[in-house]
C-alpha cells in the first residue's frame, strides 16, 4: 500500500517560529519517505538537540531525539545493530559542526549507509541566536551584540575531507529539489551528507528567505537574481562513474573548488558522489562474514529456557591447565 504524506505526520504540536526554514526540510523529508514508500516502522529518524532536532517528533517513523551533538554516534549504534533499518540523521549546524564536530569527521571515515541532513542557518536558534560554526567571520546578525569573531566552517569541504561519499547542498524553500536530494541521499550506498541552507527568520536577518530569493542582487536590468542555482542545470557532474583513482581524485577536487562559491552565486545540488568506497557494513562483513546474514539485531542469544546460545567451550579449553 502506497504511503501517503499524511501517514507520515504526527499530532505532536510543532512549536517552530512562523516562517522557519525547518518546515521546508520537514516537508521534504516526509515527501521523500512517502515517495520511497519505506515502511515507517523500518525507518528511524535520529536527531541531536536544537530547534531542528525536534523534527523526529513530527515524523511518524521511529524517532530518536538524542543529546546535543550526539545524533551521529547514536545513529551509528542503531545502524550497526540493525543494518536493515533506514536511518536518517538530522540536526542543526551547531549540533553537527560545533559540539558534534568530532563525530561528524569520524562518521565520514566509517561510511555507514545512512543520510545526514544538516539544517544550516548559521545561528544557534534554540538558545537565541548565537553565532554557529558555519557563520562567516565578521558577520553580525541582529541577535549578536558584536560581529562574529570566528571563521566559518565550509561544511562541504569538511565532509569531503572526512570521507563522506555523497556530498550535496539543498535549500529549504526549494522543497521539491530538496526532496529529490533526500531520496538520492537515502538511496546512496554509503554515508550521504546533505547541507541545507535554511533561513532563521527570528535571529538571522541577513540570510533571509528574501536574501536567497535575490533581494539586492540585481542583474543589469535591475531584476533580482536568486542567490542559489542548481548544479545539474550547469552540466556539473559530481558522480564518480568508474572505480578509478584518477577520476575519484578529479571529482573530489572539482567538488572542493565548487564549494568555495557562496553568497551571491551559491550552488545547490549534488557536489560529489562515490559509491565505490566500501560501506562500514561491508567492511565488517569482510571481517566476519556472518555479520551480513546474521546482524546483531537478528541474532538469537538464548535458548527458550534462557541458557546461552553462544558456545565458548573453545575459549575455555584454551585456558585449561
Amino acid at each position: 500500500m502506497a504511503l501517503k504524506l499524511t501517514d507520515l505526520k504526527t499530532t505532536a504540536h510543532n512549536d517552530w517560529c512562523p516562517g522557519c526554514g525547518d518546515f521546508g526540510i520537514l516537508n521534504a523529508i516526509q515527501m521523500a519517505l512517502a515517495e520511497m514508500n519505506v515502511e515507517p516502522s523500518r525507518t528511524v529518524v535520529v536527531s541531536g538537540v536544537g530547534c531542528s532536532s525536534k523534527s523526529p517528533h513530527f515524523i511518524k517513523t521511529y524517532g530518536v531525539h538524542t543529546l546535543h551533538g550526539r545524533a551521529l554516534p547514536f545513529a551509528t549504534g542503531i545502524k550497526l545493530a540493525n543494518p536493515n533499518l533506514e536511518v536518517v540523521v538530522e540536526g542543526g549546524d551547531g549540533d553537527g559542526m560545533g559540539i558534534g564536530a568530532g563525530h561528524f569527521v569520524n562518521s565520514g571515515r566509517r561510511n555507514l549507509d545512512m543520510l545526514y541532513i544538516v539544517h544550516d542557518n548559521e545561528v544557534y536558534g534554540l538558545t537565541k541566536g548565537q553565532a554557529s560554526p558555519t557563520m562567516k567571520l565578521g558577520m553580525k546578525t541582529k541577535s549578536l551584540p558584536l560581529p562574529n569573531i570566528n571563521q566559518g566552517i565550509n561544511p562541504l569541504i569538511l565532509a569531503i575531507a572526512s570521507g563522506y561519499t555523497f556530498v550535496a547542498r539543498g535549500y529549504s524553500y526549494d522543497v521539491r529539489h530538496l526532496k529529490d536530494l533526500i531520496i538520492k541521499g537515502i538511496r546512496h550506498k554509503g554515508f550521504a551528507f546533505l547541507d541545507v541552507l535554511q533561513p532563521c527568520p527570528t535571529y538571522n536577518d541577513i540570510q533571509t528567505k528574501e536574501y536567497w530569493a535575490g533581494e539586492g542582487n540585481l542583474d543589469a536590468g535591475g531584476k533580482p537574481q536568486p542567490r542559489t542555482y542548481k548544479l545539474e542545470e550547469t552540466g556539473y557532474d559530481g558522480v564518480v562513474h568508474n572505480a578509478d583513482e584518477e577520476e575519484m581524485e578529479k571529482k573530489v577536487q572539482q567538488a572542493v573548488l565548487k564549494s568555495f562559491e557562496f553568497g551571491d552565486h551559491t550552488p545547490i545540488g549534488l557536489f560529489y558522489q562515490n559509491e565505490f568506497v566500501p560501506t562500514f557494513g561491508e567492511r565488517l562483513t569482510a571481517r566476519m562474514p556472518s555479520y551480513k546474514t546474521n546482524p546483531p539485531a537478528d541474532q538469537e542469544i538464548a535458548h527458550a529456557d534462557g541458557t546461552p546460545l553462544a558456545n565458548i567451550d573453545k575459549l575455555l579449553e584454551d585456558m585449561r591447565v
Binding site: 501517514d7 504526527t10 505532536a12 515507517p40 516502522s41 523500518r42 528511524v44 535520529v46 538537540v49 525536534k54 523526529p56 517528533h57 517513523t61 521511529y62 524517532g63 530518536v64 531525539h65 538524542t66 543529546l67 550526539r70 551521529l72 554516534p73 547514536f74 551509528t76 549504534g77 542503531i78 545502524k79 550497526l80 545493530a81 540493525n82 536493515n84 533499518l85 568530532g102 563525530h103 569527521v105 569520524n106 562474514p289 556472518s290 555479520y291 546474514t293 546474521n294 546483531p296 539485531a297 541474532q299 542469544i301 538464548a302 535458548h303 529456557d305 534462557g306 541458557t307 546461552p308 553462544a310 558456545n311 565458548i312 567451550d313 575459549l315 575455555l316 585456558m319 585449561r320 591447565v321
Partner: protein, 659 residues
C-alpha cells in the same frame, strides 16, 4: 604468620618479554596442579621503563599477592636495584654476572628519590653503588645470590641450531631465566616444556630452541648450585578442572556468552584489552552447530550457526556510550568498557540511557585518578562517581566484582539487570583484577541464564493509530520494550521529559508520573534481586573483627583471614557486591552483631564506608585504606587487622607497600 607458598618475581625493561616469562612460569606451575596468582605492575610507557610480575604459587588456594619475594629473577640491572632488598632472608636472586659493574647513577629510569634511598643504604654499609654492591648488601641480609652467564649459555644453544645472531638468541633470555628459577627449586623440567609448547604453539621451531634453552639452564644450575636452595617446588596431583586465566579475558568471554553483540570502546588503559579480546574472537560459535559433510551446505550452515559481535573503536568515549545506547535501542545487548577518564566523558550519555530506559552495560575498569592520575596503577576511587555520574536523577544499578570468577558471572548479571530494569548498569572491575593472572575452577556455563525482561519480539499488536505507548505506566514501572524497527507501530525517544509515546512533555503531572516510574525501578530491583547476588559473607557468624569491603581487595582479605585464624584472631568479612541498590537491611543485620568493624578500601576517603553510613546510619570508625597505586597484599591486610585487634591502629590506617 606462616606462608606455605612460593613467591617469585621477574622484572625487566618494559617491552622485553617480562610478561611472557611470567606467563610461562605461571603456566608451568599451573600445569603441575599448583594454584597460581600473578600480579603485573608497569609504567604508563611502551618501551624502556621498568615493569615486573610477581607470581605466587602454592598447593593451597591463593587469591592475592604478598609483600615478600622468595626468589627474584633478573636479566638486567634495574630490576636488581629496585627489588633486591625486597627479597626475604634465605631467599634467592638470580642474575647475570655481566651486570656486575653497572652503576646506579647510570640508570635514567630510576626516580631520583629511589636513587637517594639506595645510595644511602649502600653508603651506610660501605658498599659501592653498583650491582655488585647491592647484591652484596642483599647477601649480608641472608639472600642467596645465583649468577648465571646467560650469553654464554645462549651461544651454546645457538650453536646447536646454527643460530649465531645474538639478538635472536636474546629472545630466549626470558625463558632461560624462568628455567634457571625452576631448576633452583627442583621443579619438574617436563612441566616447563609443556608450558612452552602451549605458549608458542603456533611456532614449532621457537618451541624447539626454547626447550634447548631450558635444558641448558637446568643443566648449568644443577651443576653449579644443586641442593643450595632449601625450598622445593613440587607438583600436586589434582582431579580439579582448572583454568589459568588472564584477567583481561574474563569479562570479554562472559560478554560473548551473555549475548552482547555490540561493544564500543575508545582506547584506554586498562580497559581496552577486553575489547581487543572481543575483536579477536568476534565471530561466535553457537550451540548446535552441527558438522556438515557437504562443504557448500556446511558453508551456509556455518554462517547461520555463527553469532558475531560488532566491536567498534569510537572517536571518543562520548561516542562509545551513545553508540552502545543506539545498539540498546535497536534491541541488541550492547556495552562499552572504559576507565575513569573515559567514564567522566560518558556521564551525559548515561543520563540519556536512564531517561529513555535503555538497557546498556558499562564496564568500568577503575585505575588511579583523578584526571589522568596513575594510568597503569590500581585504585578504587570511582565508586561514588559511578553512583552519581550524570546530572539529574535517574535509575542505574552498580555492581562490583571481587575477583575474576565473580567478574565472569557478574557480567552476565549486568546484562540481565539492564534488560529486566531497562536501565544502565555499571559493572565495576579494576586494574588489579584485569592485570592479574590466576588459576580458577572452570566456569560453569550451565549456571548462566539470560533474562531479557519485557523485550517485545515480533510485531506490536496494541498500537493506537500506529503509535506505541513505549513508556506507558505499569504496576512494576517497567514497560514492554519493542526495539526500534519492530513492526506494527512506531514510538519516539527523547532526552527531554516525555509522555508515554516518547514525545516531549513539560506537564507537571506527567513529570511526576515519569520520575516515579523510572526511579521506582531501583526499588523494584531492590525487592527482586536475591541476596546471594548482592553480598558475600565469609567467616564465622561471631568474630572479633568484621571487615567490610568491596571489589578486588577480596582476595587479600580472604588470604589474610586464614593467617589471622592461625593467630587466634577471628575475622569475618562482608563483601558488598551490588552497591546500588544497596543491600541495606542485610548489611544492618550483619553489622548489628559486629564487635569491631573495619572498612578496607583502595581509596583515600573510604567511599564504600561513606555510602554504608548514608544507607544504614552505621558509622564505621576504623578505616584501612591505600592509594599509592599498588594493590593491597594479603600481608598488608594481615598486619593491618592485627594492629587493629591490638588497638594500635590509627582511625585511618594508610597502607604503603609497593614498588
Amino acid at each position: 604468620m606462616k606462608r606455605h607458598d612460593f613467591s617469585w618475581m621477574i622484572g625487566g625493561v618494559q617491552g622485553s618479554g617480562v610478561d611472557t616469562s611470567a606467563n610461562i612460569f605461571a603456566r608451568a606451575a599451573a600445569t603441575g596442579g599448583l594454584f597460581v596468582f600473578g600480579n603485573r605492575e608497569y609504567y604508563s610507557n611502551i618501551k624502556g621503563e621498568h615493569s615486573y610480575f610477581q607470581v605466587r604459587v602454592s598447593k593451597d588456594l591463593i587469591r592475592s599477592h604478598v609483600n615478600t619475594v622468595d626468589m627474584l629473577t633478573t636479566f638486567e640491572e634495574e630490576t636488581i636495584f629496585r627489588h633486591a632488598l625486597e627479597v626475604r632472608k634465605e631467599g634467592a636472586i638470580v642474575y647475570d654476572p655481566d651486570q656486575d659493574t653497572k652503576r646506579l647513577d647510570q640508570i635514567p629510569t630510576i626516580e631520583a628519590d629511589v636513587k637517594t634511598m639506595l645510595n644511602g643504604e649502600l653508603a651506610k654499609a660501605g658498599l659501592s653503588a653498583d650491582v655488585r654492591g647491592i647484591l652484596e648488601l642483599a647477601r649480608r641480609r641472608g639472600v642467596h645470590i645465583y649468577p648465571i652467564p646467560y650469553t654464554e649459555l645462549l651461544k651454546g644453544v645457538g650453536a646447536k641450531f646454527g643460530e649465531t645472531s645474538l639478538s635472536t638468541l636474546q629472545r630466549m633470555l626470558n625463558v632461560m631465566a624462568v628455567a634457571a628459577s625452576f631448576a633452583l627449586v627442583s621443579y619438574d623440567e617436563k612441566l616447563v616444556r609443556e608450558a612452552l609448547k602451549k605458549q608458542f604453539r603456533s611456532k614449532p621451531k621457537v618451541v624447539e630452541m626454547n626447550i634447548a634453552a631450558v635444558a641448558a639452564a637446568y643443566e648449568y644450575m644443577n651443576q653449579k648450585f644443586a641442593g643450595s636452595f632449601a625450598y622445593k617446588l613440587e607438583p600436586v596431583k589434582t582431579d580439579d578442572v582448572r583454568l589459568f586465566v588472564r584477567g583481561n579475558s574474563t569479562v570479554a568471554m562472559a560478554k560473548e556468552l551473555a549475548g552482547c553483540r555490540l561493544q564500543t570502546y575508545y582506547p584506554i588503559t586498562p580497559a581496552s584489552d577486553e575489547s581487543e579480546f572481543l575483536e579477536s574472537h568476534a565471530e561466535i560459535p553457537l550451540d548446535g552447530s552441527a558438522v556438515q559433510e557437504n562443504p557448500q551446505v556446511a558453508e551456509v550452515a556455518a554462517l547461520q550457526n555463527k553469532g558475531n559481535i560488532a566491536v567498534i573503536q569510537s572517536e571518543d568515549e562520548i561516542a562509545a556510550i551513545t553508540m552502545a545506547i543506539g545498539g540498546g535501542l535497536a534491541g541488541v545487548r550492547s556495552s562499552t568498557s572504559t576507565s575513569g577518564p573515559g567514564f567522566s566523558l560518558m556521564a551525559e550519555g548515561l543520563g540519556y540511557a536512564g531517561m529513555n530506559e535503555v538497557p546498556v552495560v558499562l564496564t568500568l575498569y577503575s585505575r588511579g585518578g583523578p584526571s589522568t592520575g596513575l594510568p597503569t596503577r590500581h585504585e578504587q576511587g570511582d565508586l561514588r562517581f559511578a553512583l552519581h555520574a550524570g546530572h539529574g536523577e535517574f535509575p542505574r544499578l552498580v555492581l562490583a566484582s571481587g575477583d575474576l570468577e565473580e567478574s565472569f558471572y557478574d557480567t552476565v548479571r549486568a546484562f540481565n539487570y539492564s534488560e529486566r530494569y531497562q536501565t544502565p548498569v555499571i559493572h565495576m572491575v579494576d586494574k588489579a583484577l584485569t592485570n592479574s593472572d590466576t588459576t580458577m575452577p572452570k566456569f560453569d556455563v550451565n549456571r548462566v541464564k539470560i533474562e531479557r525482561g519485557l523485550l517485545v519480539k515480533g510485531p506490536v499488536t496494541d498500537a493506537i493509530n500506529g503509535e506505541i505507548r513505549r513508556f506507558q505506566q505499569t504496576p512494576s514501572g517497567v514497560s514492554p520494550r519493542p526495539p526500534l524497527g519492530t513492526r506494527g507501530g512506531v514510538y519516539w525517544n527523547t532526552g527531554d521529559e516525555h509522555d508515554a509515546l516518547g514525545h516531549i512533555s513539560e506537564d507537571p503531572t506527567n513529570r511526576d508520573m515519569m520520575m516515579e516510574k523510572r526511579m521506582g525501578k531501583v526499588d523494584l530491583a531492590d525487592r527482586e534481586i536475591s541476596l546471594e547476588e548482592r553480598a558475600n559473607f565469609f567467616g564465622p557468624e561471631d568474630a572479633d573483627i568484621t571487615v567490610v569491603s568491596w571489589g578486588s581487595t577480596k582476595g587479600a582479605i580472604l588470604d589474610a583471614m586464614d593467617w589471622l585464624k592461625e593467630d587466634g584472631i577471628t575475622v569475618n568479612f562482608l563483601q558488598i557486591r551490588l552497591i546500588h541498590p544497596f543491600p541495606t537491611e542485610y548489611v544492618k543485620k550483619v553489622l548489628s552483631k559486629a564487635k569491631k568493624i573495619v572498612g578496607i578500601e583502595m581509596n583515600y576517603s573510604g567511599q564504600l564506608i561513606g555510602i554504608l553510613r548514608e544507607r544504614t546510619c552505621i558509622p564505621v570508625e576504623q578505616l584501612v585504606v591505600k592509594y599509592n597505586g599498588r594493590p593491597m597484599s594479603s600481608e598488608e591486610v594481615y598486619d593491618a587487622v592485627r594492629l587493629v585487634s591490638e588497638g594500635k591502629a590509627p582511625k585511618k590506617l594508610v597502607l604503603k607497600h609497593g614498588t
